[in-house]
């Protein structure tokens, strides 16, 4: 039996694989009857011999191949540049497909792939033979559904606001999300998960705090910025890290402003800036609307000045940031 599991949602792919393993039978017996191949290197002969070996003390054999489909991905130009004999030849997929079609009864073959397009020649060839399941990245609505389900599976409950906050902090990487949800249900120990629990436990909440501080700095709210700064220090964030985050954020805002001026779409900007977290992008997107280039430039110059004074040992990092925050706010009170 052939299973094809593809999609960018790696977590669900693995879960599906676990399910397949469970249907096959006893896990200890399966251990000696499992072969895992790296699809970028495996040859047809290796694959065939693994598939055609009769299972030992078990009814089934499990063969897992990761990344075989990607070998024949047409858009995969970067991979082709390296002249490797292992990369897919157009004729090769036919041979592999034929080999797979003659799969013996006792073998369960699982092909796992990441970003595989529907036009993949091997996939088209195999679509009729096996069971193909795709796992695309979850969208907002599906994601909140997924979270609620996972919480329920852990015998807990969660408020809708908390779900939204969680999505904002974590994004759509289900690996991280699964870890955070498990942690949260254990933390609350039976009661409903609320927003403050998320702020207290979720690791990425700290990052959100950093953004709140940056916001406060840019918006001339000195008092709020200073207390957030103290709070972050207590949570173990170093001044150097904050400096980097501040300048990074200002840079991102600048870049977004500029690219929007050149009529780039949101998606283009996101990939260009390499921002995986939707949260960061959205935040910067809003900020780009709100702050004038002059203000940003001012902040940038001040950042540079502070950085120099820290790195030349003129000022201690903690105090330098205190000064920076106060100065940025203070100019605001004059010019705003």
């Amino acid at each position: 039996m052939l299973h094809v599991l593809i999609g960018e949602d790696d977590f669900s792919v693995r879960q599906a694989l676990e399910e397949i393993k469970k249907t096959i039978g006893d896990p200890t017996a399966l251990m000696s009857n499992t072969t895992v191949f790296d699809g970028r290197q495996v040859t047809l002969e290796q694959l065939r011999s693994a598939c055609e070996t009769v299972p030992f003390l078990s009814e089934k054999r499990l063969v897992i191949v990761e990344g075989l489909l990607e070998r024949f991905e047409s858009g995969n130009r970067t991979g082709r540049k390296k002249p490797s004999r292992k990369t897919g030849q157009p004729e090769e997929y036919k041979a592999i497909a034929d080999g797979i079609k003659q799969l013996p009864e006792f073998t369960e073959l699982v092909l796992i792939g990441g970003g595989v397009k529907a036009g993949n020649p091997l996939l088209r060839e195999l679509a009729a033979t096996g069971k193909v399941r795709t796992f695309p990245r979850l969208k907002q609505a599906q994601l909140s559904q997924w979270i609620t389900q996972r919480v329920k599976a852990n015998c807990g409950s969660i408020s809708p606001q908390a779900v939204n906050l969680l999505i904002r902090f974590v994004g759509n990487d289900l690996w991280i999300m699964a870890g955070e949800v498990d942690k949260l249900t254990l933390f609350v120990g039976g009661r409903r998960i609320e927003e403050e629990d998320i702020r207290a436990v979720v690791s990425y909440a700290q990052e959100a705090n950093i953004f709140a501080m940056i916001d406060a700095v840019l918006e001339f709210r000195v008092g709020a910025a200073q207390s957030l700064y103290q709070q972050l220090l207590r949570q173990g964030v170093t001044p150097a890290h904050l400096m980097v985050m501040l300048s990074r954020q200002v840079r991102i805002i600048f870049q977004i402003k500029e690219m929007r001026g050149r009529k780039k779409t949101r998606g283009e900007i996101q990939s260009k800036l390499g921002l995986t977290s939707d949260f960061v992008l959205r935040k910067a997107w809003d900020q780009a609307d709100r702050y004038s280039p002059a203000r940003l430039r001012e902040v940038y110059h001040k950042l540079l000045e502070t950085d120099i004074s820290i790195k030349t040992g003129k000022l201690d990092g903690e105090i330098a940031l205190n000064i920076l925050i106060a100065e940025l706010g203070q100019r605001g009170t004059v010019s705003a």
């Binding site: 942690k183 120990g189 207390s227 105090i319």
Partner: protein, 541 residues
């Protein structure tokens, strides 16, 4: 007599004993109670916050023979073996010294074997951020699907150095810096058990000095015990920790706020005469100023201060303008008392700088966006004449500059002299190489005076005055400076840009500016002087 250091002797043996990390310990205890312990944990946080202690307690908790569903009992064989570090199934790996991919490969091979005695094999990988990229990747596969009898606990101080794929496969816990109150509680428990009598204020001071790290705090306490014996006073703690604890630090801050230089100087000298370490004193002053700054900006409640500390400073905060506090904090913060421990001069200078110029500063328009340093270094006299309208150039400035290069002063194009301020369209188009440089030299000051709107008063313009155009190469104008300081300031990006704009608008084409430093003693100047040329000091004054 115990020979173990405090932080090892008093290392928490139960999860509940780990101070200040309730969000972590509570989650872990719940996980143990529900038998839902994850197979991979990542503990991150600053040093001395309990990462390794928690990891060891967790290792005991999952393997404890008597309980196994909550806190470790610390009395069964397994717990004791783990505490003593002789348990075969709890493997502590120091990733800082086993960074290579081979180390991880050998670990991976051993992972598959069942534990010897315990329920779980626990791998505690400390300093995991030190693993090389390939080693991290090798670990990743195991981390993703470890055998059922294995628990990984990774600990690190630097989360951002860890591969995101590793991060996502672990349940991550962030350890926070400890609050002073937490540290004080733990320290007083230790000192009670160790038979140390210590003033509560001294404990607070230790907690403050430890900046949230319990290990640092415990070490400090032990240091004091070995040094002073079993009775520790506040004063001893202050001496050892380098806090002068002197009221006069606050007094000086008061003097700064009141702009009372005379009393300030006498305060400093009093402190010096009493033989206090001036560096410590300065640190105290900066700290008080910082508190003042925070109070002023309305975030005082985020500080861990006692009420009597605050009331006085709060009063000061309402009196002092923010600019002044900032100025003072910069002056004192940047102070380098260096090796000369007994000179009060740097402190006094900082005091004067931090108080007096405030009055001058007020006159200066705040909207000026240029960074401060160049503005400060620009000689005030040179900047003064520019304040006047650019349309009526100061004759005083004009003349000496024209005289400046008497060797070439043949006034090549006098026709252009009387042109008024419409500088942009001026017919200087034919300015090509050769004679262009002389022309530019004679009209240098006119060019600055006729600078485009808003640029005449910038530091860049002032710097241009002190420069001399040396030569023109295509689009680049070489400026020669007499002082390296001026040159450096001009080379700052925004100054250079403004200068280029001024020059370009005068010449009617876009030009770049390059700066060189030429000492006055170069042979040309000497030769010129020998032929009777005279210095004019307008630029340097």
């Amino acid at each position: 007599m115990a020979s173990k250091v405090f932080y090892r002797k008093w290392r928490p043996q139960l999860l509940a004993e780990v101070v200040g990390q309730e969000h972590v310990t509570r989650t872990l205890l719940n996980a143990l109670a529900n038998e839902r312990v994850s197979h991979a944990y990542l503990f991150c946080g600053p040093r001395g916050t309990g990462k390794t202690s928690t990891a060891r307690s967790l290792a005991k908790a999952v393997n404890c023979l008597t309980n196994g569903k909550g806190e470790p009992c610390n009395s069964c064989d397994m717990c004791q073996a783990i505490t003593e570090g002789r348990a075969l199934d709890v493997i502590e790996v120091d990733a800082a010294s086993n960074t290579g991919v081979d180390d991880i490969r050998s670990l991976r091979e051993k992972v598959n074997y069942a534990p010897n005695q315990a329920h779980y094999k626990v791998y505690i990988i400390d300093e995991v951020h030190m693993l090389s990229t390939s080693a991290s990747n090798a670990l990743l596969k195991t981390l993703e699907e470890p055998p059922p009898h294995v628990i990984f606990i990774l600990a690190t101080t630097e989360t951002h150095k860890i591969l995101p794929t590793i991060l996502s496969r672990c349940q991550r816990f962030d350890f926070h810096r400890l609050s002073q109150a937490d540290i004080v509680t733990k320290l007083s428990r230790i000192s009670e058990n160790e038979g140390i009598t210590i003033e509560p204020e001294a404990l607070k001071l230790i907690a403050r000095a430890a900046t949230g790290s319990m290990r640092d705090a415990e070490n400090l306490l032990q240091q004091m015990m070995t040094y002073y014996g079993n009775e520790i006073t506040l004063q001893q703690a202050q001496t050892l920790l380098g806090y002068s604890g002197d009221r006069r630090a606050t007094d000086l801050v008061k003097n700064i706020v009141n702009q009372d230089v005379a009393s300030g100087v006498s305060t400093i000298n009093e402190v010096n005469n009493d033989g206090l370490d001036l560096r410590q004193f300065n640190r105290d002053v900066v700290e008080s100023l910082r508190v003042l700054l925070l109070l002023k900006t309305g975030s005082g409640e985020s500080l861990e201060l006692t009420i009597d500390d605050i009331s006085e400073l709060k009063e000061l905060a309402t009196m002092a303008p923010l600019t002044q506090i900032l100025k003072a904090i910069k002056q004192f913060g940047q102070l380098d008392l260096g090796l000369d421990n007994y000179s009060t001069l740097p402190l006094e200078l900082a005091l004067v700088d931090g108080t007096l110029p405030e009055t001058e500063e007020k006159g200066r328009p705040v909207r000026q966006p240029a960074p401060e340093p160049p503005a400060k270094k620009t000689p005030p006299k040179a900047a003064q004449p520019e304040e006047k309208k650019a349309t009526e150039p100061e004759p005083k400035v004009e003349e000496p500059v024209a005289k400046k290069e008497p060797v070439t002063a043949e006034e090549p194009l006098p026709a252009e002299e009387p042109e008024p301020a419409t500088a942009t369209g001026i017919d200087t188009g034919p300015l090509e190489a050769g004679g262009a440089i002389e022309q530019l030299q004679t009209q240098w000051s006119k060019m600055i005076n006729e600078a485009p709107e808003g640029m005449g008063k910038t530091p860049a313009a002032a710097l241009l005055r002190s420069a001399r155009p040396k030569e023109i190469n295509d689009d680049t104008i070489v400026l020669s400076f007499k002082y390296p300081l001026h040159k450096e300031n001009m080379e700052k990006l925004d100054n250079q840009k403004i200068a280029e704009k001024i020059v370009s608008s005068f010449l009617g084409r876009s030009c770049k500016v390059r700066c060189v430093y030429e000492h006055e003693n170069n042979h040309l100047v000497k030769a010129a002087l020998a032929r009777g040329a005279q210095h004019d000091n307008v630029e340097e004054s």
